[in-house]
Amino acid sequence: MSTSRRHFLKSTAAAGLAAQTLAAQSAKPISASDHIQIALIGAGGMGSGDCEASQKQPGVKLVAVSDCYDGRLTRAKERWGNDLFTTRHFEEILIRKDVDAVLIATPDHWHANIAVAAMQAGKDVYCQKPMVQHVEDGKRMVDAQKQTGRIIQVGSQRVSSIVYQKAKDLYEQGAIGELNMVEAWWDRNSATGAWQYSIPPDASVDTIDWERFVGPAPKHEFDPKRIFRWRNYRDYGTGVAGDLFVHLFSGMHFITSAIGPTRVYAAGGLRFWKDGRDVPDVLLGLYDYPKTEHHPAFNLALRVNFVSGAGESSGFRFVGSEGIMTVGNGVTISKTPRETEPGYTVETFPKEIQKEFIKEYREKYPQSNPTADAIRPTAEEKFMPPHGYDDEFDHHRNFIAHIRSRKPVVEDAVFGFRAAGPALLSNMSFFENRVCNWDPSTMTLV
């Protein structure tokens, strides 16, 4: 058993657990006095959340914020103090000597350029998922991490969650026997869940640096919807695959130690939120995972439905030969022991032959008198994290810890690319009507 798993046998108290997780992942004791200065690039919903979680860590100070909409810079000062340096230009942040690390929470089409530039400028990077908007950019990020030796952690917080660590422990202990299938889903049913984010009343070319926002994407005339609801457009976002499938891949890869599928297919459509978006609001994907030293061959099915006819729900079902593990807010194991005998279907045989069959069958599987001990244990065990548990906090805790220890993070550029790759191929499959083949080891299209 690895050291990162041993702690679960000791304690279930939140603080104790978290401290031990940290200790297990970092060689030297953590000193909160090691001061770390961070900057935020992209101060929207996710960026602001990341910023809050990061500033909760001891010894972390936010010094600068960049955004293309002035209102967000004003808001940053309102929230985090007037002494913040704010700018529309992320380059002005990267040249600052007082910034140790940057949180990148821009629209997807800017991730790779900014992250690579930040690493080259000597900054550690926390980059929102998906790590890249285009498969072709993945290698650039992986190479930059290698060449610069910077810490880069991608923002799928599940990878740092004690819930997923528990699921990983149970999976590795063989709690469900041999894995044969995984289903994961994210259902939503609201306007804001479907990315109809609010547009500020003062949105205009005066308050927004439109050219800068468009950046590497195709030129387009100003349209406030395209900046404030950028997830709805392929020019800037990656649809449900990059927003949500990537979380599901990250969580699943972490639990099973899988590195990715070899084959990807996706289907769906734009069914309800016909607000000008060019991405589907219902998307389903099927993925082939070949056998590796960590897991048998299995199939993955992913689903995102933004018109779910119910409330929001997200989770995983890991199906194995001896039970099912569901992962959501907690982990549930339902065990079904294998049959003790196969049973028979003899009613179409002549009576004599039936008798002969059953005689032989009973020689092989003797009929035992049922005893209390023969009652088969079908158990459902539920593991819940402590009340108020926050995996986003833990994910930022890990990031900050690794900035200090300089040890490799779990969700680094390679992990991030192995989650983003199949997610982006889901889009490619959907939009190009084809099956996509992927080599998860080299992270290349086949």
Partner: protein
């Protein structure tokens, strides 16, 4: 399946069993034990078709014999109840459809009982009435977890070349030495069966097409593998498929080692205003009305802008003091079929009613091919790693 079909059929008024054909002599002996010594038995189905006292036949052979015997039976003037899938090979479908017309409008009903099930009639009525708004997705699944569920049927102790007509079983397939497992567990081999696709997907597709009035999907993709039942079979025991219907996406799942204590079968129909789930004997309707206002995400705007935003927002969506009437009706209704309900028997009732009335059945050859076609394409997709196109109107791949 054949014995089950026969038991249902002979329980109906005015239906008499006249003959039985099987390639294992034990089954012929058993037929006489069960249904009387007077019945005619043979290993040669043509002898059954030649009999003037036979009005209709139940065809429950392995899949690779379906099309040939069905066509011969129709040509001999018999009405046909044919087990699903109607054909083993997609190319055989059009000929079977044509045969039902060539021979004086014979009745052909395919054996997917959901088409006659009260549960799926109820589901169809609810969908048509808009109970869940506009449909956008359907999940259909059949999970099993037992040896018998995974087609490890029993092999009689006297199975041999003397008691089994092996050559006739093989039919037009290349000759190979006798193997009792291949005969009694034929579903495990693509030579004779159609795997998960033809045994189970076809049921799900029949139920779906009936409940949604769909002709079929335009694109089909499937994947899977042999994950657990490594008993020499050459067909997957886990299979997943995605199909594009004009207005919704279908996901199919069959897992023969599903980690569950019991078989789990059903559909989830997802609509804009709710979710309808079905099982063997019930329909559950859970409604969630759409939002009355879209909500907002303004915490990253400057305070002054937040205030202005909220003013505008509440002008458009006035803030109201909640009153009892604004409580949103969320309901979950369960419709359960009456006690003693038997979809299998109802399906046979429909068949014999059509034999008498000469009015066509719902699950005729066209319906049967529209279910079998996409199901069989999942096998092709899974094997070749490609997505397959299908024209559901013309039934061409």
């Amino acid at each position: 399946m054949g014995s089950g079909d026969t038991t249902s059929a002979v329980s109906l008024p005015g239906v008499e069993l006249a003959g039985v054909c099987d390639l294992y002599t034990g089954r012929l002996a058993r037929a006489k034990e069960r249904w009387g010594n007077q019945i005619f038995t043979t290993r040669d189905y043509r002898e059954v078709l030649a009999r003037k006292d036979v009005d209709a036949v139940i065809i429950a052979t392995p899949d690779h014999w379906h099309a040939k015997i069905t066509q011969d039976a129709l040509a001999a003037g018999k009405d046909v109840y044919c087990e699903k899938p109607m054909v083993q090979k997609i190319e055989q479908g059009q000929a079977v459809v044509a045969a039902t017309k060539q021979h004086g409008d014979r009745i052909l009903q395919v054996g997917s009982l959901y088409v006659s099930s009260l549960v799926y009639i109820k589901a169809r009525d609810l969908l048509t009435a808009g109970a869940i708004g506009e449909l956008n997705m359907v999940e259909a699944y059949l999970d099993r977890n037992s040896a018998i569920g995974a087609w490890q049927y029993s092999i009689p102790p006297d199975a041999s070349e003397q008691t089994v007509d092996w050559d006739r079983f093989l039919g037009t397939l290349p000759k190979r030495p006798f193997e009792a497992t291949r005969f009694f567990r034929w579903r495990n081999y693509e030579d004779y069966g159609t795997g998960v696709a033809g045994d189970l997907f076809v049921h799900l597709l029949s139920g779906l097409h009936f409940a949604t009035n769909s002709l079929g999907p335009t694109r089909i993709y499937a994947t899977g593998g042999i994950r657990y039942w490594h008993d020499g079979r050459d067909v997957p025991d886990v299979m997943l498929a995605l199909m594009d219907y004009p207005k919704f996406t279908l996901e199919l799942r069959v897992n023969l080692k599903a980690g569950l204590p019991a078989e789990n079968f059903g559909f989830r129909f997802i609509g804009t205003e709710g979710v309808m789930t079905t099982s063997y004997n019930s329909v559950t309707l859970a409604k969630t009305p759409r939002e009355t206002e879209p909500g907002y995400t303004i915490d990253t705007f400057a305070e002054a802008q937040q205030k202005e935003f909220l003013r505008n927002y509440h002008r458009q969506y006035p803030q109201q003091r909640p009153i009892a009437d604004t409580m949103r009706p969320e309901s979950e209704k369960v419709f359960t079929a009456p006690k003693g309900f038997d979809a299998h028997l109802d399906h046979h009732k429909n068949f014999f009613a059509a034999v008498r009335s000469r009015k066509q059945v719902v699950e005729d050859a066209v319906f049967g091919l529209r279910a079998a076609g996409p199901a069989l394409l999942t096998n092709k997709s899974c094997k070749e790693g490609v997505a397959c196109n299908w024209d559901p109107e013309r039934m061409l791949s």
